[in-house]
């Protein structure tokens, strides 16, 4: 919860229930802003709420790189629908493809993925999140 002082006071809180569907769709954890202020507010934000989405998942750049590697491995055209929520199995990847994809990710990002973690990677987003976790670990 954050509070901003000034002519109006804005409180920020997350509303998990109504925004869960959105967060699943694009891998972002949303935060909603509710504005409470006096009626003399000049910009009339009184009792209106705005949605501010803040990304807490892997960087879009990482997701894009994963998509590129997946497309290459599965020989999919550049314009094929591959995004964070794409499941490897739904894209037609079998176990050998998945292992090759992981190997491609290791080479691209300079990381090492334990075989134990491979099974937990079901979507592109899963792979991207794991990559960033491993990169962070390497830095530490």
């Amino acid at each position: 919860m954050a509070a901003i002082t000034g002519p109006s006071s804005i409180s920020v809180r997350s509303r998990p229930h109504q925004t869960l569907a959105l967060s699943r769709a694009n891998g972002l954890k949303p935060v909603s802003l509710s504005c409470y202020g006096r009626s003399s507010l000049s910009f009339g934000l009184q009792q209106r709420s705005a949605q501010l989405r803040v990304s807490c998942a892997a960087k879009p750049d990482t997701v894009d790189k994963v998509c590129k590697i997946v497309r290459k491995q599965l020989a999919l055209p550049d314009d094929s629908a591959v995004s964070g929520e794409s499941k490897f199995s739904a894209l037609g990847a079998d176990s050998l493809d998945t292992v090759e994809i992981v190997m491609g990710l290791e080479e691209e990002f300079g990381i090492s993925v334990e075989e134990e973690s491979v099974q937990s990677i079901a979507t592109v987003q899963d792979a991207a999140d794991l990559i960033e976790k491993l990169i962070e670990k390497n830095k530490a």
Binding site: K72, Q73, L74, A75, L76, S89, A90, L91, G92, A93, D94, S95, L96, D97, V99, E100, M103, G104, E106, E115, E116, S117, V118, Q119, S120
Partner: protein, 279 residues
């Protein structure tokens, strides 16, 4: 080649029973609808096959399935007063052009199929160094012909997959580096099983490199299916009475379109044993 002759010498149980789907022309990576169709076909294949081996007592539609703790599918038999269900276990594998279902009596089974022409995006030895055991890397490195090296790689991959699937605990619980598949030339016997009468029969075994000793009881079969696929099958060994030697595998292979067509293809060019059949 004379598979039929061997069957006369086999003892009773355990048996490996192997229906096989004829290849159809499809892309090498299926998407969307085609994936759904394949999933449907695979389910139909499993149901009709298991039902057949209940002597048709059970309707394919009425079979229930569950998953073990690691997600491996199993039959969940309904308890009936007047009937003891057979101890059938199964496993399936598929490529874009073939679905294979292996069924055994009383033995865990793992099966993996792969297109013979499958090519890796990575360099084979780099891939093997990353994922295979050092013994297997050595074996592959020693092969100078690139095409034969690639074929041996695919065979090793299917054998390793079949083993992990037989264990039933998933890829992550049995990482590929923790065990080695060995292909040993066996002593020549009276009847040769390969097309080339000159070549030796090889035995396939697995050695665990980790602390767990899971590997005593497993035996392997490597076949060529429909001229286009390698198939590896892993199942448990059963000892003969008196504990000397192993009961040989009695293999049946059928090519089937569930509910439409069904023919035994053992002894035809559709099923060519490569390694592992011993007697």
């Amino acid at each position: 080649m004379n598979i039929h002759g061997l069957q006369r010498n086999f003892c009773s149980a355990p048996t490996t029973l192997l229906p096989v789907q004829l290849p159809t022309r499809m892309e090498s990576h299926l998407c969307g609808d085609e994936l759904q169709k394949r999933a449907l076909l695979a389910r139909a294949l499993v149901r009709t096959t298991i039902a057949r081996y209940t002597n048709d007592r059970v309707d394919p539609r009425s079979l229930n399935f569950k998953k073990n703790g690691y997600g491996k599918p199993e039959v969940e038999w309904q308890i009936a007063d007047d009937w003891q269900p057979p101890a059938l276990q199964f496993n399936i594998s598929h490529t874009s052009s073939l679905i294979a279902c292996g069924v055994t009596v009383d033995s865990p089974i793992g099966i993996d199929v792969e297109e013979k022409q499958r090519k890796l995006k990575h360099h084979i030895l780099a891939f093997a160094r990353r994922y295979f055991s050092s013994h297997e890397v050595e074996h592959l490195t020693s092969i100078s012909d690139i095409e034969i090296q690639r074929q041996q790689f695919i065979k090793l991959w299917t054998l390793k997959e079949a083993y992990v699937k037989a264990l039933g605990r998933g890829f992550s619980a049995s990482p590929f580096k923790t065990f080695t598949i060995q292909l040993k030339a066996a002593a020549k016997r009276g009847i040769y099983l390969s097309r080339d009468v000159e070549s030796e029969i090889s035995e396939i075994s697995v050695d665990s490199l980790g602390s767990e000793n899971l590997t005593n009881n497993w035996q392997f079969l490597l076949l060529e299916l429909a001229g286009s696929h390698y198939a590896a099958i892993c199942m448990q060994k059963h000892n003969t009475l008196g504990g000397k030697g192993n009961v040989p595998i009695k293999l049946t292979a059928r090519r089937t379109i569930p509910l439409v067509e069904d023919e035994c293809v053992l002894g035809t060019s559709a099923v060519v044993p490569i390694s592992g059949l011993t007697f």
